[in-house]
Every structure is written in C-alpha cells, then in structure tokens.
C-alpha cells in the first residue's frame, strides 16, 4: 500500500487530521499502528473514531511521540484510494531537549523521505501571525516544502480555517509559496477533505 506522510510542526493538527480524514472516508473502526521505529513491527490498536480522537489528540503539543499509521481504503465510484497515512512526530526548528522526541523526529524525517506523498500540515492562524517562518531557510516549514518539491508529491494543508486568522494564513501560504499545491482545511470540521482525497488519488498509484 502506498504511503503518505503527514508532517509539520507540533500542534499543527496532524493527528486530528489523520483520524478525521479516515472517519470522513467512511472508516468505522480505525486500526492504528504505533511504531517504535520505521519498518519495525508496531503495536496495533483498534479504536472507534471517537476513542481515537480522545486517546491520541492532545491540547498541549507535542502529543504524538511516535510514528502512528493508519491504513485507509476508500472507494468512490470507480476511484479506489488505498493509502497508509503515517502520522509523524511534530518537527521543530530547534534541537529538542527530550531524547525520546528527538528520536521520534529523526524517524519522522526518514518516513517523510521515503513516502510517496507528503501532506504538510500548517497551522493557519500561526502562519497569519508569523508569515516570515515560511520563507526562513532555517525554519522547518521551508525545508519540508523543499523536500516535497524534490522527492514526493507534496501538498501544503493549511489547517484551522475555522479559527480566527485561519483564512489569512491560507492566503499568506498561497502568496509566499506560489506554484505549490495549497489546500485549506479544518481537521475539526472536515473542510477541504474532498480536495485532499482528490490530491491523494492523483498522487498515489
């Protein structure tokens, strides 16, 4: 099954996006595999969407400390989308003081490099406040965008459109990264998911 990595800063909404997107695609039970290392056998947990959100999504990032993946099969008319969505550990501009999280980040980078598609989650209101971070070469967002440009199918998903500043963040991303696939979403409400599905269908074999 083709792999798509969901990457971004801590607190961008990666985990909620993965779970809500799976739910939106019609998954009743989510089988989430938590891996200690990429490729290593992981622990499988079967959860309902509500349980998954309650257990895996946190209000104070970083919540995701290890790679979590979810296999998703969605049929719509003659189109079949089969993808393994890998929810990664939030990546920071700086060296993180916690060794566990640094290990998770290293593994996440390896997955991002190896994946067929890269879904780069951005926190819309945060971008609106600090648009300069998208361009700074020492910033993780600029580097992830470059990675996507050279190695994978890439889409920037500007999340939290439902919050104040979200729409302005989306405009900023479109203005500063012209020519890239930029999709505005709200992981909470499912906005923009149809465009994400179409992007994945186009990108994956």
């Amino acid at each position: 099954m083709a792999q798509a990595a969901v990457v971004g800063r801590p607190g961008a909404g990666k985990t909620l996006f993965v779970l809500r997107f799976a739910q939106w695609c019609g998954c009743r039970r989510l089988v989430v595999t938590v891996s200690t290392r990429p490729g290593a056998p992981g622990l499988r947990r079967e959860l309902s969407p509500a349980e998954a959100v309650a257990q895996l999504v946190g209000l104070s990032p970083p919540t995701t400390r290890r790679l979590q993946s979810l296999e998703l099969v969605h049929r719509s008319g003659k189109h079949l989308l089969a993808v393994e969505l890998v929810d990664t550990v939030g990546l920071t501009d700086d060296v993180h003081p916690e060794p566990d999280l640094r290990r998770g980040m290293a593994d996440s980078l390896a997955v991002a490099l190896a994946s067929r598609a890269l879904l780069h989650l951005l926190d819309g209101p945060r971008v609106a406040q600090q648009p300069g971070q998208l361009l700074h070469p020492d910033g993780i967002d600029a580097q992830l965008a470059r990675l996507g440009e050279t190695r994978a199918r890439y889409a920037a998903l500007v999340n939290k459109l439902d919050l104040p500043g979200g729409a302005r963040g989306l405009e900023e991303v479109r203005r500063l990264w012209p020519g890239r696939t930029v999709i505005g979403i709200s992981a909470l409400h499912g906005w923009g998911f149809e465009r994400v599905r179409r992007f994945l269908l186009r990108s994956l074999p």
Partner: protein, 361 residues
C-alpha cells in the same frame, strides 16, 4: 513520481540515515537536517514575489524568532540545579563534570566578590574540547551554554554548531564574512566549532587561516557575550592550538573527554534501548560487551564510543526484526528482548554491512 526519486541512489539513503541519527542525538535540528540533505535553499524556497532571494535569508522582522539559532525554547526559566542535574545524569565523564563544577563555583564566587566590591579578573570563558567521536562533546557544550545562561553570564545560552564548511568561504573576503555571520548568530550563546583543527589544514593559502584570524578577533571583541568552544580529536586539537598561539592564549579552559569504559558503554546502551522500549538478555549484554571490546581494539585511537554502541544496537534491532518475522504473532516480551544472536559480529558493523540502509517503512 518525478525522475529525481526514481534515480534516488542507496547512497543518498545512507547519508540521510546518518543525518537523521544526528537529529536523534541532538547534534542537529530537524530543519538543519533537511537543509543539509537538500543543500542550500534554491529560489523556490527563499524567493519572495517581487523580492530577492537575499531578502529571505534575513531574520524575519517582528516577533518571529527564526534567526537560525538552535535555541531550546522549552528551557526558559531553567534553574542552575536542573542543568547541573542533567550533567550529572550523563554516563561517565568524571573529569568533565569536575571541570564544569569548578567553573560553576568560580563564576558564583566571582559574582559574590563583585557584589562585595572586590577586584575581579576579566572573565574569558572560551574553551577547547578534546576527545574521540561520541564522547559527549556536543552534549556537554549544550549544557555549558545553558549553565552559563542560568548563571547570568550569557544572555541566551543557545548553541550554534558549525564546522569548517560553515566558516570558510570560496573567494578572498568571503571567509571573514561567513565567519562573522556565524559569530553574529552565536552572540549571547555558544559558538561550537566541530573539528576545529580542520581550519588549519591546507597550508598558507587556505582560507581556513582567514577564518581563524577572524575568530580570534571575534573572541576578543565579543568575549563578554560569546563563548567559543573548539572541539575535535585530541592529537589534532593539540597540534592546532600549538600552531596558533594567538588562539591558544585566548582559550583558558581545555577539557579532555576520555573514551568511555566498556561498563560505561553498556550503561549508555541501556539508556538508548530503554528510550526505544528494548532490553538486552543477560547473554546479549555479555556479547555486546565482547563486541565493544573488539571494536575498541580494531579502531585503535579513533574509537567511536557512544556512536559505535548506537550502530551496533541499530544493527541488532534490525536483526531482531528479521528473526521475529518468522513468528506468527510475537509477544510483547519478544518484541522488546534483544538476544545474543541479534548482536552482530564486530566485522559486520566495522565494514558497515549491518549498519547501513534507510529503514523501509
């Protein structure tokens, strides 16, 4: 997929893995890791519509703090005791811990003397760290930065880690400009120059000398707002400092990082495995000790210390995964336990046969 990916050679994957390991070790930030893999930013990353690429290289205005300093924001308000406890928690390094404790005591007494109006010598804290790879030089440098910040000596205490390629330019005048730029980034914190001795290679006409001269001036001019730590192999560093008397006279603190003992390396292995939810069986532990001894014998005086442990364990984890694949449903205990047969022979990791390749997800 684009052609770039199709043509991706295995060598790239190996380089990537090495770079990502530095992220796990804390020697490099995730952003910097990608930067080093992808090369310097092209116009697509840095261009501003209607602007120039150079614009994007400037730190953004306003509240954004992305000026390339690998600061550790979560450390704000950290106490001295927390920093010292972290240092004490490191395996081994007794002489280094003693030297840092002396430094702390000296700085605290100096502060009291100042408060009492007593004479205080000008404080210069530039340092040299000598030791083999994997002996904790970068980790200790980071702790020193935070310690000096907690003591109020440095405003920020962040670590800017550079190497020859970050300092030395390609044409006349370029080197001084690059070196000054790195110094500027490090102001208020620590400028950590890894393999500093490589600045002296290349002879009279090499731009490395220009970098050293610029550094010497910066160390003097900014001695109250910058601590420079030059690190590298013991012999090379001694030769480097001996041949640059101007530099040596500005570095009052020289710390020796001894190789870890095998018992200490086993402790490090336990730490690494605990962080990844693995553990060693008693037989595996014994075998790991033997393998580490053989590594040390084989590598003479360039023993990779903690890095060797990490490489051996990485290889062991992959072997264990292969072994477990044969089981229909491995138990939790089996998933965690590394057995003696999982520990690779020394020749395998020495030649890199068991230590390379990007993990396939």
């Amino acid at each position: 997929m684009n052609g770039h990916e199709a043509a991706e050679p295995a060598a790239v994957a190996v380089v990537a893995m090495t770079v990502f390991e530095q992220v796990a070790e804390g020697a490099m930030s995730p952003a910097r890791a990608l930067q080093s893999l992808l090369g310097s930013p092209g116009p697509a990353c840095g261009s501003v519509p209607g602007g120039t690429a150079a614009v994007s290289r400037q730190p953004p205005a306003g509240p954004v703090r992305l000026d390339g300093e690998r600061r550790e924001p979560e450390r704000a308000g950290e106490t001295l005791e927390q920093v010292m406890a972290e240092l004490e928690g490191l395996v081994g390094l007794a002489p280094v811990k003693r030297a840092v404790a002396e430094l702390r005591a000296y700085l605290e007494v100096r502060r009291h003397r100042q408060a009492c109006g007593l004479a205080c010598e000008p404080m210069v804290l530039h340092m040299a760290f000598k030791g083999n790879p994997g002996t904790g030089k970068t980790t200790v440098a980071r702790i020193v930065g935070r310690l000096l910040q907690a003591l109020g000596v440095l405003a920020k205490g962040h670590l800017v880690e550079v190497e020859r390629a970050d300092l030395v330019g390609e044409y006349v005048g370029h080197t001084a400009q690059r070196t000054r730029e790195q110094v500027r980034r490090a102001l208020g914190g620590v400028l950590f120059i890894d393999e500093a001795y490589s600045l002296a290679r290349g002879g009279e006409k090499d731009f490395g000398r220009e970098a050293v001269d610029t550094l010497v001036k910066a160390m003097e001019d900014h001695r109250h707002e910058l601590v420079t730590i030059m690190a590298g192999y013991r012999d090379e560093m001694e030769r480097f400092l001996r041949t640059n008397p101007g530099l040596r006279s500005r570095i009052p603190l020289v710390l020796d990082f001894p190789d870890y003992t095998v018992a200490e390396l086993l402790q490090i292995a336990d730490h690494m495995l605990r962080a990844r939810d693995y553990r060693l069986s008693p037989e595996a532990r014994q075998r790991l000790a033997c393998v580490l001894v053989e590594h040390r014998l084989a590598s003479w005086d360039n023993f990779g210390n903690a890095r060797v442990v990490r490489n051996v364990l990485e290889a062991a984890i992959r072997r264990q995964a292969l072994r477990l694949q044969a089981l229909p449903q491995p138990t939790r205990e089996e998933l965690m336990l590394l057995q003696a047969r999982d520990i690779p022979d020394p020749w395998e990791t020495l030649t890199g046969l068991a230590g390379e390749g990007l993990p396939q997800a």
